[in-house]
């Protein structure tokens, strides 16, 4: 979702002219016009899921938690976000500088 993508307003020429191929290309081009749509949709979805997590405060809803922290609102969300960010950060900051070599390293 770079600037290049957002400039693409219509489907480019395809090798395949079948109708479903053209439809798919049109659909993707629409997303590319505004990648923020995806982000907005995702933020709404996250907010909705966190809101659902509040339901477990009501009597009759039980998480069957094995650990106390599972009962915290949005625990899994925070954990998922932090885990992924940690993978990006560690991979970029520590692993890549240590292991990256030229493509023909073994040749």
């Amino acid at each position: 979702m770079t600037d290049e993508d957002s400039k693409q307003t219509e489907a480019p020429a395809l090798g395949d002219e079948r109708p479903y191929v053209r439809a798919a290309a049109r659909m993707w081009s629409r997303v590319c016009v505004d990648p923020m749509r995806v982000v907005r949709g995702l933020i709404y979805a996250c907010a909705f899921l966190v809101a659902l997590d509040f339901l477990f405060l009501l009597p009759g809803f039980d998480k069957h938690a094995h650990h106390a922290w599972e009962n915290g609102i949005g625990f899994y969300g925070v954990y998922g976000f932090v885990s992924c960010s940690l993978v990006f950060f560690m991979a970029k900051r520590f692993v890549r500088p240590a292991v990256k070599r030229d493509e023909d390293y073994y040749e």
């Binding site: 191929v21 982000v39 969300g77 885990s83 990006f88 991979a91 692993v95 890549r96």
Partner: protein, 608 residues
């Protein structure tokens, strides 16, 4: 009824021998019909087992020296693995139907047969034979790509796995000699062979430090070959570990390392097949943790996850394989925007990606059993690691793979949609990924209850995956993982895809091997050259010259005194002497001189 069904592995292995003799459509039809017959045979076997109502049935036993070889140890666990292996063999052959490549067909067929052989083996000797056949077939699958780098990877695979096989064989020999039993059963640590067997299984299971063969070979193997490789090798290793070391705590920590470490390498990897290979290690890590926990729920989870993981990982490898087939590329930096020209492959890849995590897809009903088992058995660190792995792998398999192959920036590649046989194969798996996780229904291959019905243990409290709490927790995990991905991408903080070779532990033997070769070249060859200079060309040559010149010199001295007695002048003597040396060199010594030499030698001998 006793002769039917047949041993499942042997049908495929013996049937494979016919493949080279068939041509054209007959060959294509045969390679699909044969595994299909194998699969039907397995269904017959399962139903006759279920009708018998026994916990374990032993069939097809042969006496070999003092041992009883068992080709058919049937129980729910072996039948579960047998079921998914047979099923996948059929679909994988539909996927490679267009290649008509004997090497790939035979390797794949024998591969599937050997995996079934390992699963149904009741003794360690039979298991070992099929185990080694797995290695050879994997090498065949890698070679089928027919490129120089595939040959290199195949050779490294062979060397590494043969080393693992030798360790396993040593372990089995020690174990059998010590305990007197070759049965595939729980192995006690008191048996001195236990460590060797443990390590031998670990090589095929791609444990940390022993894992580098997997991304190396899987990223270079044939398009169809990698589907067989991804399905059989690691899963048979998980199965044998579950048979021999269930509940072994070391496995929990090995599994945790497998879940966490490969994520970082998958993250920075440019080759999409290599990324998938690292994610495969991560998922096998879940299974290894399940075996390590060893409770009924955990082992059921291991079996169920192996079943679902085989399906969706095969689908992902197939979809990237289809992209490679059309574009000849598999690197993120070279691909992108293919959803425009390969929309069906894109859709199927997205289903495979979704099947790795989302509710209403395979993995959701399977992997969560292992996570729950970790929580229930109070392995909190392992539980946290599994959640970490689940979020991380969703971002990699679920987002990175489809995004860089089919979306991302437009690479400008315009190709045709994947061939029909590939789409059919991927379609079958995509449907299975979805139907196997359906709630409510319970029909063959439809509904998670069908899957749970195949699992080895009856649970006291039936595991229920579709609870509001579980679905919400899983969706929160996934949605926020996706949010982290999208935000990082938009902020430009996402590790950019870069053309690079990322070192892994194979650097130890790939570089060490080269260094050894160079060392031998420089050091040992230098010793060789010195020895040649001083001994071969120096001392030996000198000795040989002396040996040849010595007698002539003796003769010359003797003749000189004769010539001087004849009062010849100095010039003539010099001429005669030169003539003598020339004749000696040419081997034309006059009889007189020879006789004189003989007499002189005899005199020397007598004097001595």
């Amino acid at each position: 009824m006793n002769s039917l069904p047949l041993p499942p592995g042997l049908i495929l292995i013996l049937g494979a021998l016919l493949i080279p003799f068939l041509r054209g459509w007959a060959k294509s039809a045969y390679v699909v019909i044969l595994p299909a017959v194998g699969f039907l045979n397995l269904i017959c076997l399962t139903s006759s087992f279920a009708a018998g109502g026994e916990a374990e049935v032993v069939r097809w036993t042969f006496q070999f020296m003092d041992f009883e070889l068992v080709f058919g140890r049937l129980d729910k666990f072996s039948l579960l693995f047998g079921h998914i292996f047979s099923l996948l063999a059929v679909v994988a052959f539909i996927f490679i139907l267009h290649t008509r490549d004997d090497l790939e067909y035979i390797s794949g067929m024998v591969y599937a047969g050997s995996a079934l052989g390992v699963v149904f083996a009741g003794d360690l000797i039979t298991l070992f034979v099929f185990w080694e056949m797995l290695t050879l077939c994997a090498v065949g699958c890698a070679l089928a790509r027919r490129t120089a780098e595939a040959r290199g990877a195949a050779f490294r695979y062979l060397v590494f796995h043969v080393a693992g096989g030798v360790i396993l064989m040593a372990g089995i020999i020690v174990h059998v000699v010590q305990t007197g039993s070759a049965e595939v059963a729980e192995i006690s640590w008191e048996s001195p062979g236990a460590w060797l067997i443990f390590l031998g299984f670990g090589v095929n299971c791609a444990w940390p430090l022993l894992h580098a063969w997997l991304p190396d070979a899987y990223s270079k193997a044939g398009i169809g070959g990698v589907v067989f490789m991804a399905t059989f090798t690691t899963k048979t290793a998980v199965y044998t570990l579950a048979r021999t070391f269930p509940g072994e705590e070391k496995l929990i920590w090995i599994g945790v390392a497998m879940v966490i470490l490969p994520l970082f390498w998958a993250m920075i990897e440019n080759d999409l097949r290599k990324t998938l290979a690292y994610c495969l290690i991560n998922q096998v890590g879940f299974m290894v943790v399940g075996v390590g926990i060893g409770t009924d729920l955990a082992l059921n989870g291991t079996g169920a996850h192996a079943y679902c993981h085989i399906l969706y990982k095969a689908l992902l490898f197939m979809s990237i394989g289809a992209v490679m087939y059309r574009t000849g590329k598999s690197k993120a930096t070279e691909l992108g925007g293919l959803c425009r020209s390969m929309p069906l492959t894109c859709l199927l890849c997205c289903i495979g990606a979704a099947a790795s995590s989302f509710p209403f897809f395979g993995s959701f009903v399977a992997k969560s059993m292992i996570v729950s088992a970790a929580a229930e058995s109070h392995h909190t660190i392992a539980w946290l690691a599994l959640l970490f792995g689940a979020a991380g792998v969703f971002h990699l398999v679920g987002l990175k793979i489809p995004y860089f192959a089919f979306f991302s920036r437009d690479s400008g590649i315009r190709v045709k949609e994947a061939p029909t046989n590939m789409l059919v194969a991927m379609g079958i798996i995509a449907v299975l990924c979805f139907t196997i996780a359906l709630p409510v229904v319970n029909l063959p291959w439809m509904g998670y209850r069908y899957l749970y019905g195949m699992l080895p243990f009856e649970l006291e409290h039936a595991y229920e995956p579709y609870t509001f709490a579980h679905i919400n927790a899983q969706m929160l995990l996934l949605a926020f993982a996706a949010l982290a991905f999208v935000l990082t991408l938009l902020a430009g903080r996402y590790p950019a895809e870069a053309r690079a070779e990322n070192l892994d532990f194979d650097v130890l033997y790939r570089r060490a091997g080269l260094a050894t070769l160079r060392f031998l070249d420089r050091r040992l060859n230098a010793i060789n050259a010195t020895v040649k200079r001083w001994v071969v060309d120096g001392a030996v040559a000198k000795l040989s010259r002396q040996c040849a010149a010595g007698p002539v010199w003796l003769v010359a001295q003797a003749m000189k005194s004769v010539w001087e007695a004849q009062r010849l002048d100095a010039e003539t003597v010099a001429l005669k002497e030169a003539d003598l040396y020339r004749r000696a060199k040419e081997g034309a010594v006059p009889i007189g001189a020879s006789a004189l030499l003989a007499a002189a030698l005899m005199a020397v001998l007598l004097a001595l």
